[in-house]
């Protein structure tokens, strides 16, 4: 008996329809239950998940770079420790997510290959640079804030391993947004230069953060299917609205403004209105024409390639030890 993943690997053709499996899968989704790796699942469901979960993992890994950029220059030892712990968490989160994706039959090596060859996507937000320390604040407050809005509903995603990884990630990430907020708060209330640094940074990150939720619902063809499968729980626009409603009052606490003159409370809707976003910019970065796309991939590729000899050494050592202990075992048997 093989898992869906193993069957898939041995034969790359479309899976034969399994009526009983299909019925069971439909029942699970209808009852809002979790699908587990050994369950039959439609090919498209599996493909969607592999794509989404591996993209999510890649985003965590690439996302280490813009913040890693400031570890060596953090302006206080406390901030240095916090930043280091946060970037390290991101490596951990990438690992949890690669593990979840791997249960669908794609080994991590393959996903890494897809990432460094430029075939796989990751969140475009990480293709923006971090020229100032205040960007550590903006990434925590806005980027992680948006990510959390996206991620909390994913703790209930229909695919079990993904949902479980997200539970762990959300738990660990609760400090990420707060530390970013604190960085900005200290800057905003600090010297004039610090305040300006904070405002300038928020001005740069506001729109890209809002675009993290993806294109408007009308232009997001895959969303409906993901929602039907209980992978996605809320639409892009719903989540974006939720995020704006959250950050407008937070910006007031920070004493910073958001760079959108159209932000206004709408009594009727019970939400903040906000201006249109420049989606051409979004698609530009997505197509690889962002400020740091090449830098991010090159850095990842270099780390992976320069680490090859270390990974090979450890594998060779393990094999050597295995052969030695096997030999010792045989000698013991023969002696007896």
């Amino acid at each position: 008996m093989a898992t869906a993943a193993q069957r898939k690997r041995s034969d790359d053709a479309e899976l034969p329809e399994d009526p009983a499996g299909r019925a069971h899968f439909d029942e699970l989704i209808a009852a809002d239950q979790r699908v587990e790796p050994t369950d039959w699942m439609p090919d498209a469901y599996r493909k969607t998940l592999v794509r989404q979960v591996s993209q999510h993992a890649h985003s965590e890994i690439i996302g280490m770079q813009p913040e890693g950029n400031w570890i060596t220059r953090a302006p206080s030892l406390k901030r240095k420790a916090i930043l280091m712990a946060k970037v390290q968490d991101e490596a951990g989160h990438g690992l949890y997510l690669y593990s979840a994706a791997q249960t669908l039959g794609t080994p991590r090596d393959k996903m890494t290959e897809d990432l460094i060859s430029g075939k796989a996507k990751y969140s475009s937000i990480f293709n923006y640079p971090t020229p100032t320390w205040a960007d550590m604040g903006s990434i925590g407050w806005l980027v992680d804030g948006a990510a959390i809005c996206n991620q909390v509903p994913l703790c209930r995603a229909s695919y079990g391993p993904y949902a479980r990884a997200m539970v762990r990630i959300c738990k660990e990430e609760s400090f990420h947004q707060r530390q970013g907020f604190e960085i900005l708060l200290h800057l905003s209330r600090g010297t004039k230069e610090q305040h300006e640094m904070a405002q300038e940074s928020v001005n740069r990150w506001y729109a890209p953060a809002l675009m993290m939720f993806g294109p408007p619902d009308a232009d997001s063809p895959n969303s409906a299917q993901s929602m039907a499968w209980n992978i996605k729980r809320f639409s892009n626009d719903e989540l974006r609205q939720r995020f704006v409603d959250m950050i407008v009052p937070q910006a007031e606490v920070l004493g910073l403004t958001l760079p959108d003159p159209d932000i206004k409370w709408n009594e009727e809707r019970g939400h903040y209105d906000f201006g249109d976003l420049d989606w051409d910019e979004f698609y530009e970065v997505l197509k690889g024409r962002g400020p740091a796309n090449a830098i991010r991939l090159e850095r990842r590729r270099t780390a992976h390639e320069e680490g090859a000899w270390v990974r090979e050494a450890a594998a060779a050592y393990a094999e050597r030890r295995r052969v030695e202990s096997e030999k010792a075992r045989l000698e013991k048997v023969q002696a007896a």
């Binding site: 008996m1 093989a2 898992t3 993943a5 193993q6 587990e36 790796p37 050994t38 369950d39 390290q88 968490d89 951990g92 690992l95 949890y96 593990s99 791997q102 249960t103 669908l104 039959g105 080994p107 991590r108 090596d109 479980r164 990884a165 762990r168 660990e172 990974r311 090979e312 450890a314 594998a315 050592y317 393990a318 030890r321």
Partner: protein, 101 residues
């Protein structure tokens, strides 16, 4: 059959990690990771899954060494206990209200 996600072609194999969160509790599955051998696997598990005081003891096991019950035999495996409510204390209602029972 082994656990999902195992793959013989990877240079560093996949390991499943079980963490005991405090003394007196069982080891629970925490997740998985890649490591070249058992010694490194248990160390990687420590670094990855106990960064926030989550554990006092760790097990690691090669994912390929875990045998899983057959999902297609779910009926044959897990039907039997259903309908045998008499295995549970809640089945016995006549002693309700009697102390220490």
């Amino acid at each position: 059959m082994s656990t999902p996600g195992t793959n013989d072609t990877e240079p560093w194999p996949l390991w499943e990690v079980f963490v005991r969160s405090s003394r007196g509790l069982s080891h629970l599955h925490a997740g998985s990771l890649h490591a070249p051998d058992a010694e490194m696997a248990v160390r990687n598990a420590r670094d990855l899954y106990t960064r926030r005081n989550e554990g006092v003891s760790i097990w690691v096991v090669r994912s390929t060494d875990i045998t899983t019950s057959d999902p297609d035999a779910k009926g044959a495996f897990f039907e039997s206990p259903r309908g045998k409510e008499y295995r549970h204390a809640s089945y016995y209602t006549e002693s309700e209200g009697v102390k220490h029972l």
